[in-house]
Symmetry: C2
Subunit: 217 residues, 2 copies
């Protein structure tokens, strides 16, 4: 029974990492769809929603079973409780990537982005995918140092996000309000994606140290 | 021990409702700060962040204790697992209300909103507060019918949100891009607040029926 128990907890950790991989892939392809106005890539990204939502529901279902049948304690219980939060963050990351793809699809065959901001979104996409990749590694390794590094990347994302406001608010912005509105929403999607990677990292730090996050007290 | 156990679960349900009340009050005062450009009200709303974050951390800490010491099963376990999700939703609702107040503070003494959209935001605020109030009642009563009604109100919010795009994207919008950007972000904050009330309602339906949400499968 104990062996079965360990297998299940190990599987649950691997499943979180795999779900993070789905969110990462979704953000990679959503950014590609956005930058190239490629409808097929946008559709493909959007169709991934079902797999992400199913993975989240499966995880919760399995976690519920472990809690009900095995009454885990101490670190094992912390893994379950943290995992329930993490799975919600990962599902939301997937949802945000899909929002990006949906906007690309809605504007197709036009490009959502004026050429002046393409570089910023290419960079936001790169940072977001990198953050998701580090998050995936953190979920597998429970490496608190790597988890702490994720916060630095969040600052890079915030800086990119601020630069969008500067560009769209500059006098003489030639692309009108609908483009500025799209850019504002997209900027928010990338920034929130990035926030969720930090939240997952903070949960892993809680797992390793047993301390609740300092910003919640 | 069993009596203590019941008391704790009862307390946890009441604590969720009370936390929902904090988010509701925050959204009420944030909307007031937004509509009246009242700096004191904005500051007061923002200062509520600590109480909301502390309530969330306390809840999780207590839930962890119940899980570790009492190994709840069946409905009691579902309450704990759902509660862990709900507390994250409620904390986020508080955070979104505070984002509204922060924008009011940032633009003070100017009004964030041009007069044309004041009515829409007054209505979004009213709907959001009403949704939070229903959510609070749902948390206390576990009334699945009232929980299902919350989804109807979400449609009202979506309609208001769409009307903002129509207003800011109309040819001849006279207030420029920075105002449109603020309105876009604010619209998103209210819409997400509303989404979270629906997510809480869905969790309560799960609690009552034992079924995972259909949109997650």
């Amino acid at each position: 029974m104990r062996e079965q128990y360990n297998v299940t907890l190990g599987t649950l950790a691997a499943d979180l990492a795999s779900m993070c991989g789905l969110a990462e892939a979704a953000m990679e392809s959503a950014t590609r769809a956005l930058l190239t106005a490629d409808l097929a890539v946008a559709e493909h990204t959007i169709s991934g929603r079902e797999a992400i939502d199913r993975a989240a529901a499966d995880w919760e279902h399995q976690a519920f079973g472990v809690l009900a049948l095995q009454s885990p304690v101490a670190l094992d219980l912390r893994i379950m409780v943290s995992g329930l939060h993490i799975v919600a963050d990962l599902q939301r990351m997937g949802g945000l990537a899909i929002h990006v793809a949906e906007l690309a699809r809605r504007r197709h065959p036009a490009h959502v982005l004026p050429v002046e901001v393409e570089r910023v979104f290419a960079e936001m996409g790169r940072v977001a995918v990198e953050q998701a990749d580090s998050t995936r590694k953190v979920l597998l390794s429970r490496d608190a140092e790597l988890a702490a590094e994720l916060q630095t990347k969040d600052e890079a994302m915030d800086e990119l996000h601020r630069s969008l406001f500067t560009l769209t608010s500059a006098p003489g912005w030639p692309h009108g309000i609908p483009a500025a509105v799209d850019i504002t929403l997209l900027g928010r999607f990338y920034e929130r994606f990035s926030d969720h990677t930090v939240e997952v990292a903070e949960r892993v730090i809680f797992l390793v140290t047993g301390e609740f996050r300092s910003d919640e007290t």
